[in-house]
């Protein structure tokens, strides 16, 4: 069987930012690949650079070192407009801070992703346990519920890659498993998932775990 072309290739990535004139190295020498239909978790302590790595992989933060190829293109050689178009079609992002639009109801929040119909938006909300709240506004929901809306927005336009930053940070065990299950199913349906998480139970759902502190790639099946 032919090897599938990787969807995302991270090559020797590193990031440095300046804090009050002092250089802070977040991570360096990070290399991995994600294939279509692969569910990858990034783990590491707070401040180890998980969010920075995910932002770079989503084309939203230019890394200081190394490169990222997505669907065969060097992500940061593209123009800003091309990157925006690529995000619109091929990447779904769930921010750690969620960033729902406060003046849109849940359906519309999901629909701001490109090409999502009302029906599709409501189906995803229903699947994530929010079917009876589609007309509610983010301000009327708990943090856990908002997290699921943000997941629906990241996933509803069927991107090639879903990036989820701590998607279960404030969820109970049952809802965490619901979210991991949805992401697992998404990967099984052919979409790739890159997720940062603290939860050790996530390992049972993923194909690959990256320890960003030790840059150790462990295949879940080898565990």
């Amino acid at each position: 069987m032919d090897k599938v072309s990787p969807l995302l290739v991270v090559n020797n990535l590193g990031h440095v930012f300046s804090n009050r004139g002092r250089e802070v190295r977040v991570f360096e020498g990070c290399s991995f690949e994600i294939d279509p239909a692969q569910f990858v978790a990034v783990q590491g302590a707070s401040g180890s650079g998980k969010t920075t790595l995910l932002l770079a992989c989503g084309g939203m933060l230019a890394p200081s070192l190394g490169g990222i190829r997505f669907q065969g293109s060097d992500l940061f050689s593209l123009s800003s407009t091309q990157r925006t178009q690529m995000r619109a079609i091929a990447i779904g992002y769930l921010f750690q801070t969620l960033e729902l639009v406060p003046y849109l109801d849940l359906t519309s929040n999901v629909r701001i992703a490109t090409g999502v119909s009302k029906t599709v938006a409501n189906q995803w909300l229903g699947r994530l346990g929010l079917g009876d709240r589609v007309r509610s506004y983010p301000g009327e929901l708990s943090h856990g519920q908002r997290q699921r809306v943000a997941l629906a927005r990241a996933i509803a336009h069927k991107p090639a890659l879903v990036i989820a930053d701590e998607p279960t940070g404030n969820l109970d065990k049952r809802n965490s498993e619901l979210v991991f299950g949805v992401l697992r199913e998404y990967a099984q349906d052919g979409g790739a998932v890159l997720m940062a998480t603290h939860e050790t139970s996530a390992v049972t759902f993923t194909d690959l775990v990256i320890d960003i502190e030790n840059l150790d790639l462990t295949r879940a099946k080898d565990r």
Binding site: L61, Q85, V101
Partner: protein
């Protein structure tokens, strides 16, 4: 999802902030509109008051000995051709409200009184063709006469009574007795210029032309004094005439006009700067305060212009509504106030659509720039720099 839909949803959600923005636009544009109309009324009223002070330039035959003229209380029997009026008009002299006059001292008589009076033939004031103004002096009907208050007393003619005055054998019906003015005019009788020329057998002759100088623009442009400009102009037209300038009156007139104009210009400029800063500041605050939202929209694939269009629609809508309300209220209030404050000219103060369009247009452009530019700049940053940033 269309930017208009998103902008309307946002406005519905943050209606208080939208209301404040709209009210501030309305307040500032309203004040500007108010003062632009108010200034037009003020200038009209100043013009009327200054005009009513009277002529500040007298053109006399060049043969007149000005010492003797002043010694006689501003009177001379030397005449010049009345064609000079047409010549001044033809050469667009820097004058307006030209009033040619012919005067003689003559015996005036009623049934049982008689007295020497200064009989003045006077024409209606003549406006320069390119400087149309309401007449400063209206014509006196042929066969009628206006009496100065002191001459009327000498002739025993009371106000509001019918009387006939005979001058050099011709009878004139008293049209009115003028109120005391405290000048030589109180001992004068005014008749139509043509009648005076016939009466004194001096056809096409006049004693002097009174006028108002219009030299302020040329003074500003050339740096020359008004008297120099007028002297040069009259010297080019004729050598039969010279002019007297009533300095105090002329200077007061210039001063009142320029001070009021400059004062308004300062006020107007301050208001424009205030309008600009307020609108730019408000629009920028709105755009900068919504950075995370810009980041999210970019993250889901909204390009720079699509993001900016959200802010554009919001500002366009609010500035258009705010300016429409502000300008309407400002103009209505100003016209209402002009009717009360400017008793004589208030009725002539009307809506100034040019000012309305300028104020509305500038407010609109400023609001659009103030919101669009920061939104475009923010949308040019990496989304990661915008997400999670509070305003």
């Amino acid at each position: 999802m269309s930017p208009i839909y998103l902008a309307l949803r946002e406005l519905n959600y943050r209606w208080k902030s939208g209301l404040v923005f709209g009210l501030i636009v309305a307040a500032v544009t309203g004040v500007l509109a108010y003062f632009s109309i108010n200034d037009a009324g003020f200038q009209k009223e100043i013009g009327r008051n200054v005009r009513d002070i009277g002529s500040n330039v007298v053109i006399l035959p060049s043969d007149v000995d000005q010492y003797a003229y002043h010694l006689a209380g501003g009177y001379s029997e030397i005449t010049m051709t009345s064609n000079l009026v047409s010549q001044l008009i033809e050469h667009r002299a820097s004058l307006n409200h030209l009033i040619p006059m012919l005067e003689r001292r003559a015996m005036c008589a009623t049934g049982d009184h008689q007295s020497i009076g200064r009989v003045v033939g006077i024409s209606a004031s003549i406006a320069m063709p390119d400087r149309p103004k309401s007449p400063m002096q209206r014509s006196i009907s042929i066969g009628e006469l206006q009496l100065g208050s002191e001459l009327a007393r000498k002739l025993g003619v009371a106000r509001d009574t019918k009387a006939e005055v005979t001058i050099a054998g011709e009878s004139f019906q008293v049209q009115r007795v003028n109120r005391a003015s405290g000048t030589w005019q109180d001992s004068a009788a005014f008749i139509d210029l043509k009648s005076a020329q016939n009466l004194f057998q001096l056809p096409e002759r006049i004693s002097r032309i009174e006028a108002i100088e219009c030299t302020s623009e040329q003074c500003e442009a050339s740096g020359l004094q008004s008297s120099v400009i007028l002297n040069n102009e009259i010297a080019k037209i004729t050598d039969e005439a010279s002019f007297l300038r009533k300095e105090g009156m002329a200077e007061a007139r210039l001063s009142v006009r320029s001070v009021s104009r400059e004062n308004f210009l300062i006020l107007q400029n301050v208001l424009w700067v205030f309008l600009a800063l307020t609108l730019l500041g408000l629009a920028m605050l709105n755009s900068l305060g919504r950075k995370p939202e810009i980041g999210v929209l970019q993250a889901v694939g909204y390009g720079r212009w699509r993001v900016a269009s959200l802010f554009l629609v919001r500002s366009m809508l609010l500035s258009a509504i705010g300016a429409a309300v502000g300008i309407s209220v400002g103009m209505a209030a100003s016209i209402e106030q002009a009717n009360r404050l400017f008793v004589m000219t208030g009725q002539k103060v009307s809506l100034d659509w040019n000012a309305a369009a300028t104020i509305g247009g500038v407010a609109f452009i400023l609001a659009v720039l103030g919101s669009c530019v920061p939104a475009l700049l923010a949308a040019g940053e990496d989304p990661a720099h915008l997400i999670g940033k509070d305003s």
